[in-house]
Amino acid sequence: MQSDILSRIESGIRLSFHDTLELFRSDDIFEIGRLASKIAQLKNGSNAYFIVNRHINPTNICVNRCKFCAFSRSKGEVGSFELTIDQILERLSSSGGFSEVHIVGGLHPDWPFEHYVAMISAIRQKFPTINIKAFTAVEIDYFSRISGLGLEQVLNKLKDSGLQIMPGGGAEIFAEGIRNELCPEKISGERWREVMEVAHRVGIKTNATMLYGHLETLEDRIDHLLKLRELQDRTGGFQAFIPLAYHPKNTEIGGFYSSGLDDLKTIAISRLVLDNFDHIKAYWIMLGEKVSQTALLFGADDLDGTIIEEKITHMAGAMTGEGMTRDDLIYLIKKAGKTPVERDGLYNKIWKE
């Protein structure tokens, strides 16, 4: 690795495509990790965030059927499910104390847009104070198509019913060639970014993700990161970036798990490239609690949450549990030498020791 990259990062000069490629190609995970850690320290001090949240997947019936996905089913297929709004409310009522609900699901062939609006309204009515984080850009685009409404109208309606935050899923990898191989029916990377831009404009905060470790090249990863950085420059609406390690089990493209070293390096380089993102999340469901905890020393500042009932990654062979307790998360963070901070969906502090 050329030392001028290091000094440039330290003096706040942005990483170029070629700088980033050099970092990815470098074997010096320690220097990269130390630098990323330094940047994380500047942005968030010693804080490492977590949230008490829960996931709801209203349906796994999906018209898209992406090749890396082990969760989706066709309508009528064995193992397909759909939850009614009452069932969703019931599930949420059965576990108290969470500050955020995370809702993502398949693109259901029959449900009208009004159904999703009613879902959010019903949740908001019953749980007036929780943060509602719902629907990836892929779902929002679908709602626009099935309703005939523009993105802005769709997003405003959802926002008015109570949606505050959107998850960053569906970004996968922006590069067209690979994207077409992975998920030919899914919206393009350009459309994903367009949805996010409109969401940010109407006042919805979102996350951003990148699915890596499948067919993509390092150049594809860098392209993805730089496009996110560029959009964030314009809108400032992204809260956290979440690199997602691909899981090969039960998917059409198969392959291998990404290595723990690749996971750490990707976290660290993301921290260095995305200088305009406040948070880099080491999502424990995807990385495993061990690599996620270690990632707190490689530039990550957030482990996500208690989750409860994670389905999508588990159907693709996640080796983690489906939930963690608040105590588990606090313990992991403290043992990494960081200060645990419980946050809500908008990174407001709920608890700090």
Binding site: D27, I29, F30, E31, G33, R34, S37, F256, Y257, S258, S259, G260, L261, D262, D263, L264, L287, G288, E289, K290, V291, Q293, T294, L296, L297, M319, D328, Y331, L332, K335, A336, G337
Partner: protein, 346 residues
Amino acid sequence: MERISRQKALDLFKNADLLDLGDYVDRMRKSLHPEGMVTFVVDRNINYTNVCINQCRFCAFYRSAESPEAYILSEGELFKKIEETIELGGTQILIQGGLHPDLGLDYYTSLLKSIKSRFEINVHGFSPPEVCYLAKKHNLTINDTIRTLKDAGLDSIPGGGAEILSDRIREVLSPKKIKSGDWLRVMEEAHGLGMRTTATMMFGSIETPEDIIEHLDAIRSLQDRTGGFTAFIPWSFQPGNTDLNKDTGSHTATAVDYLRVLSISRMYLDNVKNVQASWVTQGLKLAQVALRFGANDFGSTMIEENVVRAAGVSYRVSKEDIINAIKATGFIAAQRDTYYNLIKIF
């Protein structure tokens, strides 16, 4: 490289930045193993009995002789397991059991002879608690006991039962198990008889950093005298289904703790060539990370493993998974034998 003192090791273990430690021992690993290779052995853990009079508090595997789940493997079952191991390209069986009150030296010697008369396989077996138990039972010296086992076919001795080589800790964890001095004596005698052994450490229970350094120092001192240890294998206490769990809660050493112990082990044990990553307790992803924090070996493929599994931790992994996991980190994957001779490069 200058040898690190106890005091300095303790200070680094407690205070050093983990990435700085990793960086240092990664260079050390590179100079000890410049070929960029990560090795593994194809073997099977065979536990001939789960009956154990020691009943250590960190163990979820043992049963009393009266338990309905108590067992002793028959020769037929044992041979079948060995046949399967050989079919899968295995070169070693790790054979260990509880301390069964009814089994004497005859059982062990006839077991070894029957294996050796049928199979060409390295028998890596009977950790120091078993050796000491037999010595005591038959009123033999440790040297005579090992010699008898060796003559019957025992090739090498696994480093299990070391736990933490600090009697203060052993008194709490495993009051009935042999003391530190006994464990070290068995290894020294075995090395003296020309046998190679490994050394282990189980951390993450109730020990202090001082205990960990004491453990490493005991291994380093013995290795200075004998040179008989092939590898050092640190792993973390797995609290599920154990009695100790009631005191410690379900929390044990985290990934960061593991990497720290691994790094300080690599740094301190400058005279032990190989340090193993423990995918069985840490999972493949962290084991991959461990390869940059001092480890150069992936241990065994463990066609069968029962003891860690009894504590509720089960990472199911095939030989292919291990090869792929090693290659994904940029190292060359190679199968080795018990003595770290290369068998096959993948």
